[in-house]
Every structure is written in C-alpha cells, then in structure tokens.
C-alpha cells in the first residue's frame, strides 16, 4: 500500500513535470520559429499603432507606407528586388513599441522602419535602434531637441512650423496678446517654451502671454474657452496658438464654435490639426481658424504631382473621399529618400544608407524639392492655411523658400549652441562654443 502510493506520487510528479515542461518548450519554440528569411525581397518595417488611442492617427500612415511600397513594386522594386512590408501593431503601448521594434529588426530582419507618432513612442524605440543599428523614419512634427544617427526626422521641427506661424500672426493679423494652449506633454511644453522665448525677444510682455495645459483627451473645455474669451477681451488683438493633441481637439473646436468665438475675433492657429482631424468635425463654425503645416491637400502644383498623388491614393484605398495630410507627405518624402539612398550605395546595409542619406533630395508634394540635411532633418516649405467650410484648408501664406529644420532650438538656453552634424562632425549634439561633442552621441 505504501509503495503503491509512493509510486503514484512519483508517476504523477513526472507526468505533470513533463506536461509543464512541454508547455514551456512549445511556447519557446513557437516564438523561436516563424522568422523565415526570404532573400528575394527587401523587408520594410511598419511600426504604427493600429489599435488603442493612437490608432486614430497612425492607421493612415500604415496605409501610406503600404501604398508607397505597392507603387515602388510596380516600378520594379529596389535594386531588382521587390519590397515587402512587415506590419506590426504596437497598440499605442509605449513599451510594446520597443518590443516590436526589436522584433522587426532581429526577427524579421527589416532594412528600414517607418513608424511612430508620439514623442514617447520614438523615445521608447530609440535605444533599440541605436543598439541594433537600424534606420527609423519619423514622420510627425515634434519638439526638436534631438538628432540621432539612426533616426531621420521628416516631420517639422519647431522652426518649420511654430515660429513661421507666430510670425504670420504678428505681421498679418497684428496680434499682440497670445494664448499658448496645449496638451500637457513634451511637444507642447517645448514648443511653448520656444515660442515664449521668441515672443519675448519680439517685445511681447509677460502679462500678454497666457499658457494653459490640459490633460490628454480633455473633453470639458467650457472653463478654458471662457478664460480665453476673457483674456482676449483686454483690448489688444489676441490669438490662440494651439498644441492641443488629437482627441481633445474636436470638443475644443466645438466649444469655440458654440461660445461664438469667431476666427476674425480670436484666431486659433493649430499645429496638430490637419485634414484627417477635421474630417470628424463640422467645420462651418470654424472657418478662418488657422493651421500651420508643410503640406495641405488643397495645394495646387504646377506639375500636378499633388493632384496625382491624391488621385492614386484614393484609387489605392478605394475611397474617393479619403483625405491626405502632412505626416503622410513626410512619409512620401522619407520613403523616396530611402529608395534613392539605397540605389545610390546599391545596398540596404544600414551603415551605408545612413551615410548616404544626408544630401539626398526628393520632390515633396507641393512642387519643391526637399533635401536631407546633415542633422537628419529635412528642408520644407511652411504654409499657413485657413480652415474652409468643406474641411479643407485655403493657403493664405507661405514661406518664400524652403526652411531648413533645426534639430536644436536657437531660442532655448540649453540648446542654442548645439548643432547636429552627422557628416562632418559625426555628432548629433555638437557644442559649437566648446567644440565638443556632448554626451554619448559621438
């Protein structure tokens, strides 16, 4: 009896042990396999959230890259090979971005990644790209203060969006009083710091600047809109510079419209509101409010490149109403630049492509030619558009030429002496005063 029960126990022990071990092994194996290296294609990683809070903006960018790859493959691909997109969903979860970036590079062996929207997602994947030495094209306007060897910034730096917009309001609308309203995260904080310094350098007094931050997804704007109204009725021309992010914009504009703040009284210039965001709002009460971008869907080009792009895009997505926007254009430029660089060095080796990219030129969709700079930012035109009743923008002003993106803002104390130069100095944060490359960027 006793021996029997011991045997029983031993048997159960081993059987259960085997079960657990098999389960563990299977899990491990399942994750090990699955990476099949296909040599006849060049893999392109797409790292945009398809679910969660950011899906609202990022899904379009995923479609854009798929569209561009499709177009390129129709032209015969790159270096005689077809391009293959590897799409993952980082689900608006920042640590997941890092995990997926690692997966794309090590498991799927992609040659380049197009991805990220928020600053935090970029910050999250940055160490991964540095460690594994790959290339990221980042297509969204951001706060600047960064120039990394492995990242190419095709969106606007603050000097390519915020400062021209403020200049326009000062000159054209004679604005004397400023409300800087933003969502409380790094991009608005930094942009507002830069703008505050810039406005003060132009002689605007401290009491004529009101800064207001709100949490993500803020939906009750009654108090803030009333405050803006109050601030704006102090006898000086007032404007709102809005760095309010994504979801919070719709209730903000609805409240503005309902409380009767017209663009001709207090114009709002926004840096995060484009065609895509306006597609969710009735824009009739918003006519005249402004946005500053490097691209608008409504821009007419002499060579018809924008019109052709819009048509092809709508055919590809099978949706004749699908709009285009600025971050999409940034991907278009970035993708074209990458293709050119790869063809130039006849290799997809990241080191070679990184060295080849600065100096590469690619046409943008507004009739000009953008150039990749040594600081890994690009040259772009800046447009100010007024919202029209149909959800599109009417360009009311543009910079005479292209503006070169500054990686480091000249308006901030910490960064005014810094430059990024990956060609001559091989350094992203080079202090021109001390002639030293700071930190570990060397």
């Amino acid at each position: 009896m006793l021996t029997k029960s011991t045997r029983d126990r031993a048997a159960s022990f081993s059987r259960r042990g085997v079960l657990a071990a098999t389960a563990g092994l299977m899990l491990g194996l399942a994750s090990l396999t699955g990476a099949k290296a296909a040599d006849d294609t060049i893999k392109v990683g797409v790292l945009h959230s398809l679910s969660g809070t950011m899906a609202i903006s990022e899904t379009t960018l995923k479609d854009t890259i798929l569209f561009l790859i499709d177009e390129q493959n129709k032209k015969g691909g790159v270096l005689g090979k077809k391009l293959e997109a590897v799409v993952v969903d980082p689900a608006s979860n920042w640590p997941l971005f890092a995990e997926k970036a690692r997966e794309l590079i090590t498991k799927d062996k992609v040659s380049v990644v197009f991805g990220c929207w928020t600053s935090v997602s970029r910050k999250s994947v940055l160490p991964v790209f540095k460690e594994l030495n790959n290339i990221l094209f980042y297509p969204v306007q951001y706060e600047g203060e960064e120039s990394e060897r492995n990242v190419f910034y095709t969106g606007a730096a603050p000097n390519q969006q915020a400062i021209p917009a403020v200049d326009y309001l000062m000159k054209e609308e004679k604005v004397k009083r400023w409300v800087l309203a933003g969502t409380d995260y790094v991009y608005p904080r930094t942009t507002n710091k830069i703008l505050e310094a810039y406005l003060k350098s132009k002689g605007v007094a401290q009491e004529d600047i009101m800064i207001n931050y709100t949490p993500f997804g803020h939906s009750d704007w009654q108090t803030i809109v009333a405050d803006i109204k109050k601030f704006g009725s102090a006898g000086k021309k007032t404007a709102v510079v809005s760095t309010i992010n994504g979801d919070a914009n719709v209730p903000f504009y609805k409240e503005l419209g309902n409380q009767g703040i017209k663009a001709k009284d207090i114009p709002v210039v926004a840096f995060s509101v484009g065609e895509e965001e306006l597609a969710g709002i009735d824009t009739k009460p918003l006519v005249g409010h402004l946005a500053a971008w490097n691209y608008f869907e409504s821009i007419k080009t002499k060579d018809g490149s924008n019109e052709k792009f819009i048509k092809d895009w709508q055919t590809y997505t099978k949706n004749p109403k699908r709009v285009t926007n600025d971050p999409m254009e940034a991907h278009v430029i970035g993708f074209a630049m990458w293709v050119k660089a790869v063809e130039k060095v006849k290799s997809t080796d990241p080191d070679k492509v990184i060295d080849a990219l600065p100096g590469i030129e690619a046409p943008n969709l507004t009739g000009g030619v953008s150039k990749m700079l040594p600081n890994h930012h690009i040259t772009k035109p800046v447009f100010i558009g007024e919202i029209k009743g149909n959800g599109q923008f009417d360009v009311v002003w543009k910079t005479p030429g292209l503006v070169a993106g500054d990686a480091w803002s000249k308006e901030l104390d910490g960064s005014k002496d810094l430059i990024g130069d990956w060609v001559g100095k091989k350094c992203g944060n080079f202090n021109t005063k001390t002639n030293k490359c700071l930190g570990s960027g060397s």
């Binding site: 609202i56 054209e172 949490p215 803020h218 009333a226 979801d247 009767g260 005249g288 009417d394 009311v396």
Partner: protein, 535 residues
C-alpha cells in the same frame, strides 16, 4: 408697418444715391480700387475695401456684402471684377452694368481674418440704416468693435432716426466707443462715454476702458471707477458661470453614469463594457445623420430625435444579447463579470474600429443645438443647456419607470430578493435580461447626447468609464438619487477647482477627495440602509 419700412428703405437708397452723386470725383479711384480685387493679394484687397467703403458709391454695399459671402468674382487675366447676386445674376462691379455670365477663369476673391474684420467694419457703417432690425443691431455692434472715427457721422445719423430701443442702446454704445478713442472729443463727451460703457458693464466695455490710452485726468478717474465696478460685478457673474459649468459637467457625468447605476448599481454587474454601449449610441447617431444627409437632408434638425429611440433600441438589444450569452452565467460572481465585460469591451471597440474605421466620425449639431445666448454676463451654449434638460428628463423617466411601472416593480423585487421574487411568480431571468438591456439602452441614449460635445471614435467609451464608476460609487451603489447628487457634486466641485488649480490638478484633487470621502462613508453618499453586516 410695411409702408414705414419701405419708406425707410427708400430713404436709405436715396441717401446712398445722394452721396454717390454728391461725390462724383471719386469715380476714378473707385474703379481702380475695384480692379485691385483681381490681384489676389490680401493687402490690395484690404485697400480696395477701405476706398470702396468710403467712396459713397452706390455699388459699395453690393460689392462688399458680396465679398463677405464669397460672391465677388475676380478674373485675374482681364482684371475684371463681377458681383454675382443671390439670384444668380451678375453685374460688372466697376460699372454696375449687368453681364451675361462670369468668365470661367474668374474665382471668388479670397479673404483672411484681417480682411473679414475690415469687411465687417465697412459693412457695419453701410448698413446702420438697413430696414431690418437684426442687421442694424449687428451693424451697430460691429461699429462698436471697430470704433473707427470715420463711422461717427453715420452713427449719429442713424441714431437720430432709430426708434428700436435695443438698436438705439447699441448705437449709443458704439458712439461712446468712438468718442472715447477720438482725440478731439471734449471732456464732457468722454465722461458721458465712460458712463455709457459702465452701464454696458461687460468684458468688452472693460477692454475698451482699459485700453483707451492717454486721457484727461477726470476721464481716467471715471474710467478707473467704472472698471472696478464692472470688475466686481463680473466676479459675481464668474461664480454663477462656474456653477453653470459645474451643472453642465455634472449632467454629462450623470448621463454617462446613469446606465451604469442600473447595470452595476442595481444588478451588481461590474460592467466594463458600459462605455462601449455609450459609444454604440454615438455611432447610431452617426449612422442616422449619414442616412439623413444622403437621403432626406430636410430632416437634419430632427436627426437627434430619431437617433434617441434608435440608440436605445440598438444598445438595449446588444445589452440583452450580452446578458443572455455571457452575464447570466456569472451571477453571484461579480468580480468575474469585470473580467468578461472587459474582454467584451475590447471586442466591441475593435469591431467598431473595423466597421467604421479608426478615425473620428462627424456628427453635426442640429441648428437648435448650436450657438449660445447671453444670460447677463455669462454665455450659455444651447447644446449644454439641452443636454442638461435631456439628462434630467431621462433621470425622471427612469425613476418613474422603476417606481410606478409593473416591470419596474419586478426589477426592484428581483434585485432585492431574487428567491422571494421567483416564488411570487416573477420570471427572474427575463427580468435580468430586461434590466441589463435597460441599463445598456440608457447608455446608448447617453451616447446620442455625448456625440454632440465629444469625439465619435472607438475610444469614446474608454474616456467615460472611470468617471462613471467614480460617480456611482461616490453616490452610493444601488441608489439612483445618489448617482444624481454624486454627479452634480463632482461636476460642480471640479469646475470650482479648475480655475484655481488648473484642469489637471483639479481632477487629481477630485480623485483624492473621492478616496478620502469613501473612508468617511464606506458605502457612498447614499448608502442603502439595512441590518446586514455584509452587503
């Protein structure tokens, strides 16, 4: 009345004619100015507006009002400018002669904000004697805003003829604003102007008084006392305003939470998919509006009225389906309903994302929901007002239903003592399904209202779920009145904290207060009374 009106109109037209003929010397510059519209340059357009408005030409009014409405067409090639009338007929803007058609190369003259302001100011002085009371009032107000000296004569002329009381006041205020800034106005005039503005007593009057620049000492003194009196009255109004905003926020919270008060509060199901029911209601509104837009554009103003019952039915049906397929297996295991409904909320979100796309969908405000009116010194927006009324109505109906209807009685019986109810012959499982459906349906109705002030996106529900739980728990689980009081308390507290602490800190403070409050009253504001040690 018609005779009086037409007589006034005649005199208006006549005076335009008189001015036009009295100043024939301006004909040359007028034509030059009109041609400037064709340059497609904002500063040229502004110059043209200025010249034309002060030219006294009879075409000034049609040209400028056409410019405002986007009916002024300019041909950049021939430099010709045309006015397209509201009736579709066109005239040459420089000569006033009718033309057969506007060439295709012509496009509407573009405006920017600065131009819109000068156009408003120009139209203001041109329409001060318009036959329509509303137009006159608007004209007086835009003159008040621009307060340019050139308009003084027109204001005086209009004031002499004006008989409508409110227009007269507005004109008086416009006159005061002009005089205040007129360098050669007498001290007496300026003192009178200060008094007029003090009587107006709003933000804009204060803005004028603060920004009036150098003035004689007596005027400065009068202005200072006027400013302080306006300020103190505005301070009172700002408290009223905060209270109103608090009520409005509270109504939104209540609306979002009231369905949860049933599914969670009455049935004890921790329904994490509650937010998604709200979202489904909002998307129902979107679909209704989409159908109306394409098929029956005339019905747009009724879209919400149509959407409310539909949203109730759609969300309610989904609720019944959920209860029958999932929840009913989980009664007595409340914490596991949390798990299953959380999974459900992920599925519903993704389903909507797949069906409608991840981007925001446009839900328009019907005309009766847009805009605002002034009550004293505060602005009350119609959409907020309607949402408040709507919320209270929903609450009242729900309460009445639970108290007086047969099904309400059964619901209360089942939630209070299931076995007793069953032995009295109540089909408890049917009542469960209906109760859950009712809660979900009300969440759907909430979605219709929330679509008017918030994004309609797959994330809509997520942004309300936490707040809804806070409201229900704060008010006391199982008590509808608690939910009502809880929602308004939190709303008002939030709005009084926000100006002091800012939006983010205000919200944090509210959360900390809820945590501390629950320590004080572990069963919420209105705890269910009973003798059991454990609920």
């Amino acid at each position: 009345m018609p005779t009086k009106l037409s007589a006034r109109f005649c005199s208006f037209v006549l005076s335009l004619f008189l001015i036009a003929f009295a100043l024939p010397a301006f004909a040359g510059p007028f034509e030059d100015a009109v041609a400037k519209f064709a340059n497609d340059d904002f500063s040229d357009t502004e110059e043209a507006v200025g010249v034309i408005a002060s030219s006294g030409n009879k075409l000034a009014f049609p040209i400028i009002s056409a410019l405002q409405d986007g009916r002024l067409m300019a041909d950049p090639d021939s430099k010709k400018v045309y006015v397209t009338g509201t009736d579709g007929k066109s005239i040459d803007a420089a000569t006033g002669e009718a033309v057969a058609s506007v060439p295709d190369s012509a496009s509407a003259v573009r405006l920017n904000n600065r131009l819109r302001r000068s156009v408003d100011a120009a139209l203001g002085s041109l329409t001060l004697q318009s036959p329509d009371v509303g137009t006159r009032l608007q004209a007086a107000q835009s003159v008040f805003k621009s307060h340019e000296e050139t308009a003084l004569e027109a204001v005086d002329a209009a004031l002499a003829k004006e008989s409508n009381k409110s227009v007269k006041t507005a004109l008086g205020e416009a006159r005061a604003a002009i005089l205040l800034f007129k360098s050669d106005a007498t001290e007496v005039e300026k003192l009178e102007a200060v008094a007029t503005l003090k009587a107006r007593g709003d933000q804009e009057a204060m803005a004028l008084l603060t920004g009036m620049g150098d003035q004689p000492p007596s005027v400065t003194k009068a202005a200072a006392s006027a400013i302080s009196s306006i300020q103190s009255s505005l301070a009172v109004w700002s408290t009223v305003q905060n209270a109103w905003y608090g009520l409005s926020l509270g109504s939104v919270l209540l609306l979002a939470a009231i369905g949860l008060a049933i599914t969670f509060g009455v049935m004890g199901v921790i329904n994490m998919a509650h937010g998604e029911m709200v979202m489904i209601g909002a998307y129902t509104t979107f679909v209704v509006q989409e159908v109306i837009r394409t098929r029956y554009p005339g019905l747009f103003d009724y879209s919400l009225l149509i959407a409310v019952p539909l949203a109730f039915v759609v969300a309610g049906a989904i609720g019944v389906l959920i209860e029958r397929s999932i929840i009913r297996f989980l009664y007595g295991r409340p914490l596991e309903t949390l798990l299953a409904t959380w999974g459900l909320s992920l599925v519903l979100q993704q389903a909507v994302r797949t069906m409608f796309g991840p981007t925001n969908r446009e839900v328009g405000n019907p005309s009766w929901m847009s805009g605002a009116f002034e009550l004293g010194q505060i602005t009350i927006t119609y959409n907020r007002l309607w949402i408040l009324c709507f919320t209270l109505a929903v609450f009242a109906i729900l309460l009445a239903m639970l108290r007086y209807s047969a099904i309400g009685l059964e619901m209360r019986a089942v939630t209070q003592n299931r076995r007793m109810a069953a032995s009295m012959g109540i089909a408890t499982s049917r009542v469960d399904a209906l109760t859950f459906g009712l809660g979900s349906g009300i969440a759907g109705i909430a979605g219709v209202a929330l679509s008017q002030i918030d994004n309609v996106s797959p994330n809509l529900g997520q942004s309300y779920i936490i707040d809804s739980f806070m409201v229900v728990v704060f008010g006391g689980v199982g008590n509808l009145w608690g939910t009502l009081v809880g929602a308004f308390t939190l709303g008002i507290a939030n709005k009084f904290l926000e100006p002091v602490a800012g939006a983010v800190l205000g919200k944090i403070a509210i959360l900390v207060l809820i945590i501390l409050f629950i320590q004080k009253r572990p069963r919420g504001l209105f705890a269910l009374k009973g003798r059991a040690v454990e609920a």
